[in-house]
Symmetry: C2
Subunit: 324 residues, 2 copies
């Protein structure tokens, strides 16, 4: 079992370089912090190094000041090993993996089925709801008590990666772990407010103005949004994932089978990011593949050259065919 090998790895090493993926979210951040505290509690040294900022809404988490930014560099620290958390591939760490130019032993803890098994010890469990659920098992196996901060880190990972316990990765085990974590005095509505109820008014306006533009066709089986670059001319960065929010909204539609978001990219060259979601009947991975993208059967994406109008036309044609 790779859990045992991970435990062995952790016991052997003394100074850990810990990283997760860029475009960080709750599970990446929670895993890093919980793993950092784990090895500290075992009397070891550790550094968390990220090639991206702390995502919006997560600054309420305690102890984040231990996280260092890659850009600022790491000097005079001699690491024994490198730990990649929630990364299906080393490149998901951004540039952080280049710090390990000496080829130190790598521990890879991840729940993505697509994980490329890049490390010396690979613990990949696609049945785990998230990486935090796996870190929880490390605490149990190493007999390290979970305290209130650690419970919060792990809970955040589970909450966000399961979409508040409603995605298909939510299992009985997920709830069992959440049950134990809540015993450490987590204020559920406060956490929820911080993570999901923290949108500045101008950002929420952008969302509410785009929602009425949803197009529905194929007798309600297909719904899509097209966002032109003007939306982002004034506001380049929103505090939430706009495409994700639009996809979630469209998926509340009765009988819908496929949901798409077209987002015209800023930048010099004309291209469009397309995100696809399927309720299971059609394979949106195949459609994304056709346009040079990829993903899963029910969630995929592709960046396609061309104007918004051209890309929309081409992609919608393919989706309509698939729905036939």
């Amino acid at each position: 079992m790779s859990l045992e090998k991970s435990v062995e790895f952790i016991r052997k090493q003394k100074n850990f370089l810990i990283a997760s993926h860029t475009s960080m979210e709750g599970d990446a951040l929670g895993s890093e912090m919980a793993f950092y505290r784990l090895v500290k509690k075992l009397g070891k040294d550790a550094t968390v190094l990220n090639d991206d900022v702390i995502p919006y809404g997560y600054d309420f988490l305690p102890g984040l000041s231990v996280i260092r930014r890659f850009k600022k560099g790491i000097k005079n620290i001699k690491f024994d090993c490198f730990v990649a958390l929630d990364c299906s591939d080393l490149r998901r760490t951004g540039e952080v993996y280049t710090v390990n130019s000496d080829g130190l032993p790598i521990l890879n803890i991840d729940h993505h089925i697509s994980n490329s098994r890049f490390a010396d010890v690979n613990w990949v469990d696609p049945r785990a709801s998230c990486c935090c659920e796996m870190i929880y098992r490390l605490y149990k196996k190493l007999n390290v008590p979970v305290d209130r901060d650690v419970a919060l880190y792990l809970y955040i990972g589970i909450l966000t990666d399961t979409g508040s316990f409603r995605y298909s990765n939510t299992t009985s085990e997920t709830h069992r772990v959440a049950a134990e974590l809540l015993q450490h005095g987590i204020a559920v509505p406060e956490v929820y407010k911080n993570v999901y109820g923290n949108i500045p008014y101008p950002d929420l306006r952008v969302l509410s103005e785009i929602l009425p533009r949803m197009k529905v066709e194929q007798k309600g089986r297909l719904a899509w949004f097209a966002i032109n670059r003007e939306v982002f001319a004034k506001k380049k960065k929103l505090s939430f994932d706009l495409s994700e929010s639009l996809l979630t909204f469209a998926r509340t539609l009765k009988d819908v089978e496929a949901v798409l978001v077209f987002k015209e990219n800023l930048g010099l060259h004309k291209d469009v990011r397309v995100n696809f979601r399927s309720q299971g009947k059609i394979d949106v991975n195949r459609i994304a593949n056709f346009f040079g993208g990829g993903g899963h059967k029910t969630a995929s994406g592709a960046t396609i050259k061309g104007s918004l109008e051209t890309v929309k036309k081409k992609v919608l044609k393919k989706v309509r065919e698939a729905l036939r």
Copy 2:
């Protein structure tokens, strides 16, 4: 302990009249069905009687055909007892309680703190997330195995009453129960899709057209929606609770402390339904009380005579004062 007394009550009786509240939702329906199956499995007779329709989106639940409508009447059945589930008061059953004109013994199982203890056996537990969490304990205590259907009934009650495990009533115990229920083969995303992702397109359009009308004032601390009766002129009944959806949307706003929805009622006399939510700092129960309504400190409502404009003016004045 009232759990023990409820068990005693159930063991003694042979033919149960089971009811829950009007304006049914997941917990009312789930409790009724799970209680019905419980007593049937104990070899007893039972009838579920409702003074309201099955709420929209719940027809995917198995076995609902045993539920009878009050309007159609109950004839030639001699009940031994009356069971009220998730009802803070007998009148919450609509007219169903009038069936018990002979004054049969009543069992009252509820989780509302405001419960009026109207029955012969009152089991009221405000720490339970929902009535279904209490029915689950009855299964354990009576040693009746939970099967797949029952697990689904109970899970639906928990899911909906906790807002997918994010309201303050979500406890460690709630997750522990969910963990056991999921072991009976519940397809989490399917359930979620049925309950929350089942909105007909015209209804979703109504919502998306109202969202951009949100007003924000007091430096983002107050947000409100005003819905005039014209919105409902074409579409009298939506498949979801519009006020609830608007309140939820407004509560995603950063720094918001109070959220209100004004809804002009149809009907002959001019009046407006006002729903209040507070993030905890101000007491919206007091404000609702002032206008003849009521509720809790963080969630309340009032129906106020007058035009939409007049009511808005009066109520917003009070809320602004409270926010000072």
